[in-house]
Every structure is written in structure tokens, then in C-alpha cells.
């Protein structure tokens, strides 16, 4: 990239980012579809997803493997390049990202939109010291061109993400750090340019549970401090509960339910969400009597009909009509959308949603 071009782009990108700040909905995803071609066959991983990210709020994208949640997150940043066909619209403020020039997009990635991957050992360069990797990001996004000042800035970032000895970590190679520390470094890099939007793809899945709790608390703190919109992708309803304001549940490439986390987890409106909650091994449930969802989510190679509910084969409430017609995502209660026309807005639960709650509350005390 020539210097002249980089400067030009930087100004324009800065302009985009500034304008994004004027919008309440920082990032709007509309009717997003993502398709890959594999062995000459089209595989549609994401089919018509709508998401709205708001500054200072966390949207959790919840789903199991193959649901299309990570593909959605990566497609927002156009990380698939030409290997995916992307349809629909992704807007940062009022700027359409799906058609934005690639050189501008580079300024958006890591600039306006930060990303924290699942496995930081895969995103950090194993051959370079942590400090150099952070300084590079600062230089590329013109936060700090001077190497020494950049290093000081990087040290501050590391402190900000809860690393108590930034000097040592700046000089360390990624392999010298624990998984939790590496993830903190990845978070420091993601927030280095004070992004408007932070996308985190299963950021704590590879971590031990006690470390997970600390890292999730860090996300919440940083989000408030920087007034970012956070999109957090996870398969774990517990994680959704801790960090989420709103949740969008995905199944087989589509949203099946959206709403506030508190509402959705307490009164799910889609049988799949209810099934996920009921399958958890909560205390007090006799051994061997978990309410498992039968079957499994459709694999990437399986054809999912556009004219049937994809969850119907596993659904306790399925009616013959479910396989002939795909229920649209509609408002079932104020602020709640669900794609099921059988259960009528609230899934009748086999066991009360609060089962086992007494035992848990006792133990916390």
C-alpha cells in the first residue's frame, strides 16, 4: 500500500467511523446471506439474518456448531474474501460494508470494528513478541506511529485488560503466556483503536471456567468504558446470561428467536431455545433423566429446505404443517421475535424454568 493511498483511505475511514458514532444503531445487518461453494455445490451457511448493534449494549449470537453464528460474525468483517458469496446488507452507521472498497475495509477491521477470536494462539504471530504485534496495529491504524510511544501505549492497553506486569508481557512470545493471558492480549489488540463495535467469537470457550468468568467481566467493563457495541458469539447459554443484554438464537443458518437475554432465557418463545435450556444438567435432575433434544443439528453438507422449519425433525411440538411451511420470524410479544407458529409465543415447559434454583441459591450464600 502506498503512503499516499493509505493517508487518503485513513481520512475516509476516519470519516466513516466518526459518522457511525452519530447513529444509535452502530451496526445494522439486514437479510444477510452467506454461501460457500464446495465441490461445485452451493452451501448456504447463513440465510437472511437481521441484527442491530447498539452502542453500549451486548448482543449475544447463540447457537450450536453449524448454526452459522461464527460465519455471520466473520461475514460482517468480510473475512471470507472471495470464498463466500455474501448477500444482504451490513451497515456501519450509514456506510454499506458489503460493497466497500477492500482497502477501506482494512481500515474498518481493527479500526472501527475490533475482533477477538476464539483461540488467541491462532491469531497471534508465534514468532513475534507481543509488544511488536500491538505496536504494529497502532501504526497501521495511525493511532501512534512512533515506536517508543507506541510501546508505552501498548503497555497501557495491557494494564487496561488486567495484565499486572505489562513490561514482561510486551517482551514475551505468545507461547510464554497462559491461555487466559493470551486472550487478554487479543482483547488489548482488539480495543487498541477504540472501536465502535467489538466482535468476539467464542472468546472464552478455550479457557478454564474460573478464567472465563474474569475475561467476561473484563468485556463488560471495557464495553461500558468505551461505549462499544459488543457482538458476542457463543454456544453457551451461561455465557449469554452473564454478558448479554440481547440475544439472537440461531439454528441451521437462521435466527429462530430474539429478545432481551432475561426474557428469552426465562420465557423462551421457540422450542429450540427451550430445548437448549432444558438440556442443561442442573442440580436436582435425576441422573439419566436430562431432557435431551433428540437428533442433532443439520451438518454443513445437509440440505435444509427453505420451505420447512429446520428444527421440526427434532421438535416436540412439531405439527405436519411445520414441514410444509417455514414459520417467519415475527413479533410474538413486545420486543420478542420468534419463528414458530405452533407454540404461540411461549413454550410450555416440561419442568419449571426455575428447577434446581433453590439448591443453587443456597450454595451461593
Amino acid at each position: 500500500m502506498s503512503t499516499a493511498r493509505a493517508t487518503l483511505n485513513r481520512t475516509s475511514v476516519e470519516d466513516i467511523i466518526t459518522r457511525a458514532g452519530d447513529h444509535e444503531h452502530v451496526l445494522t445487518v439486514e437479510d444477510l446471506t452467506v454461501a460457500f461453494t464446495r465441490r461445485r455445490r452451493q452451501i448456504t451457511a447463513v440465510r437472511g439474518v437481521d441484527l442491530t448493534l447498539t452502542a453500549g449494549r451486548t448482543l449475544v449470537l447463540l447457537g450450536e456448531s453449524g448454526s452459522g453464528k461464527s460465519v455471520t460474525a466473520r461475514a460482517i468483517l468480510r473475512l471470507y474474501g472471495r470464498s463466500a458469496t455474501i448477500g444482504g446488507s451490513v451497515r456501519l452507521g450509514d456506510t454499506e460494508l458489503t460493497t466497500l472498497d477492500e482497502s477501506w475495509m482494512r481500515g474498518i477491521r481493527g479500526g472501527a470494528i475490533g475482533m477477538v477470536p476464539q483461540d488467541p494462539s491462532g491469531s497471534l504471530d508465534p514468532l513475534r513478541r507481543v509488544g511488536a504485534q500491538i505496536v504494529e496495529v497502532l501504526q497501521r491504524h495511525d493511532v501512534e506511529q512512533d515506536e517508543r510511544r507506541g510501546r508505552a501505549y501498548a503497555g497501557g492497553l495491557l494494564e487496561r485488560v488486567g495484565i499486572h506486569d505489562p513490561g514482561r508481557v510486551l517482551d514475551a512470545f505468545p507461547f510464554e503466556l497462559s491461555g487466559g493471558m493470551r486472550q487478554r492480549v487479543a482483547i488489548a489488540i482488539a480495543i487498541a483503536c477504540r472501536p465502535r463495535v467489538l466482535i468476539a467469537d467464542e472468546p472464552t470457550t478455550a479457557l478454564d471456567v474460573t478464567v472465563q468468568a474474569q475475561v467476561l467481566a473484563l468485556f463488560t467493563e471495557l464495553q461500558r468504558e468505551l461505549d462499544m457495541a459488543l457482538l458476542l458469539v457463543t454456544h453457551d447459554v451461561g455465557v449469554a446470561r452473564i454478558v448479554g443484554d440481547d440475544v439472537a438464537v440461531m439454528y441451521a443458518g437462521r435466527l429462530v428467536e430474539t429478545g432481551s437475554v432475561d426474557e428469552v432465557l426465562a420465557r423462551p418463545a421457540h422450542p429450540y431455545t427451550a430445548g437448549l435450556l432444558d438440556a442443561l444438567p442442573l442440580p436436582g435432575i435425576p441422573r439419566g433423566e436430562l431432557l435431551a433434544i433428540p437428533g442433532r443439528p443439520p451438518g454443513p453438507d445437509e440440505l435444509v429446505s427453505d420451505h420447512a422449519c429446520a428444527f421440526a425433525p427434532r421438535c416436540r411440538f412439531a405439527q405436519p404443517s411445520c414441514t410444509r411451511h417455514r414459520p417467519p420470524l415475527v413479533e410474538v410479544r413486545p420486543g420478542r421475535l420468534a419463528a414458530c407458529d405452533v407454540v404461540g409465543g411461549e413454550v410450555p415447559r416440561v419442568a419449571p424454568a426455575t428447577r434446581g434454583a433453590t439448591a443453587r441459591t443456597e450454595a451461593v450464600a
Binding site: 450450536e64 456448531s65 491461555g179 478454564d208 471456567v209 474460573t210 478464567v211 472465563q212 468468568a213 474474569q214 467476561l216 467481566a217 463488560t220 454456544h235 453457551d236 447459554v237 451461561g238 455465557v239 446470561r241 452473564i242 454478558v243 432465557l265 430445548g275 437448549l276 438440556a279 442443561l280 444438567p281 442442573l282 442440580p283 435432575i285 441422573r287 439419566g288 433423566e289 436430562l290 431432557l291 435431551a292 433434544i293 433428540p294 442433532r296 443439528p297 451438518g299 434446581g356 434454583a357 439448591a359 443453587r360 441459591t361 443456597e362 450454595a363 451461593v364
Partner: protein, 275 residues
Amino acid sequence: MSAAPATATAPAEPLLVAEHLMKRFPNGVQAVDDVSLTVHAGETVGIVGESGSGKSTTAKLVLRLLDADDGTIRFAGTDLRGLRGKALRDVRRSLQLVPQNPQTSFNPKLTIGDSIAFNLTVHGTRSKPAHARAVELLERVGVATGHAAKHPHELSGGQLQRCAIARALATEPSLVICDEAVSALDKSVQAQVLNLLAELQRETGVAFLFISHDLAVVEHVADRVVVMYLGEVVEEGDAAAIWRAPAHEYTRALLAATPERLLATRDAAAAAPTP
């Protein structure tokens, strides 16, 4: 529900008694430091801990996949540490493993049926009856018997983990070590596999040593729980009691951090104590 066959007999010697196990790796890490545990016939004992706690190393010591530096392991009345060659192989018929990742624990070149049958032929069963038994087992664990002719990459993680369970049960073991056996599965599929393990235990009276980082899962499956931290046992006891009233600070930290617990108490996230 039928009574567990194993509990019918008078209190006998425990199935597995491991005492004062020690293992130090060449890099100087004391991976297992004076660990003792007991598993009775037909029961499930959980080992819970985070990465680096020594739980998997303990399993490997019991399976004799690693040799302990010190300590004793008695399994069904035999001193395991003294066994070698054929004698060790014979004991392993009764002592099986369901590993974490079935994608890597099945030979990619063999069919599922061949892999399961191999666990029988290696112990002297002829090929034909071994294959017939493999198909029976697949049916029992809820995998379409047609999958016997398929290769591991053609099956989903959940199906493959069922196959791994079928393979472990082929030799009619008295103890199966499940090392993070459900950790890689989606939650909706995890519940199916946990239910299957409980069913198989009721039917066959097999004992499980169930290793997991997930305290909620362990509380659900186990009668007794051993909590490990940095190679040592920091707490052990009745699973439900530990869930209600964890004695050790580390157990409390683990417990507070379980998603299931956090579902109930959102603010616990910030308050979670650090070990």
C-alpha cells in the same frame, strides 16, 4: 428401572484403589502429587479440575498409559503397577477408556465397525463374532447399524462419541474412564450422551471414572467427586454435598463459574473468586 446388579453383593473390596500416586514430568512439573482415589463397582466417581490440575494424568496412570513414579494401584484385586505384557492386556479388557475427542481416537482408515471389532479381536475374539457384536453394540448406543461400514469422518461428533462408548463397552468392562467424554459435544447432544451413559450403567453395572472440567456435568453424573488443583486432591466427597456446600476455596471458585450457576445468579460473574 432394574436394580444395579453390582449393589446386590455384600460389600466387597473396591473395584479400584489408587493410593499416593505421584508423577513428575521430565520438565519438572509435579503433575500428580499424592493422589488417592477409590471407585466401587457400579458407581460413578467424578474428577473435576481445570487444565493443568492433573486429572487426565491421573487417568493415564490408572490406565497404565503412563507409569506412576510412586504409589499403588489395585484394580479388581490385582496390583496394576506390577503388570506387564499379556497380563496387563488382559486387565485392560475390564478397564476401558472413552477419550475426549473421538475424531482423533478412531483410526481414520478403518470403518467404525472394524474399530469396535478390533477391541474384541485384540482380546482373542474371532473376527466374525467380533463384527456381529460391533453391530449389536452400535444399535445399543443408538447409532444406525449401517454406520458400521462408514469411516469416522462421515459421522458427527455426537454419533462418533456414541461409537467410542460402544467400543469401550465391547469387552464388558467393569470400569470405564471417561476423559472429558462429553466436553466437545453441543449441549443438546451432550444431554443425550449423559443419558445414554446412565442407562448403560443401570443395565450393565459398569463403574465410571468421569473426568471433566465441568462441575455441573460431574455433579449430575457422579456419586462422589474428587476435586483436583495443581496435581493435588483439594476436596472430595458426595457430589450433591459438594455442590451445596463446597469446602475448598478452589471448589467454590469453580462452582461460582459454572454457567448453570451463573444462569441463576448473574452478578456472581463479577464476584467470582479467583483461585
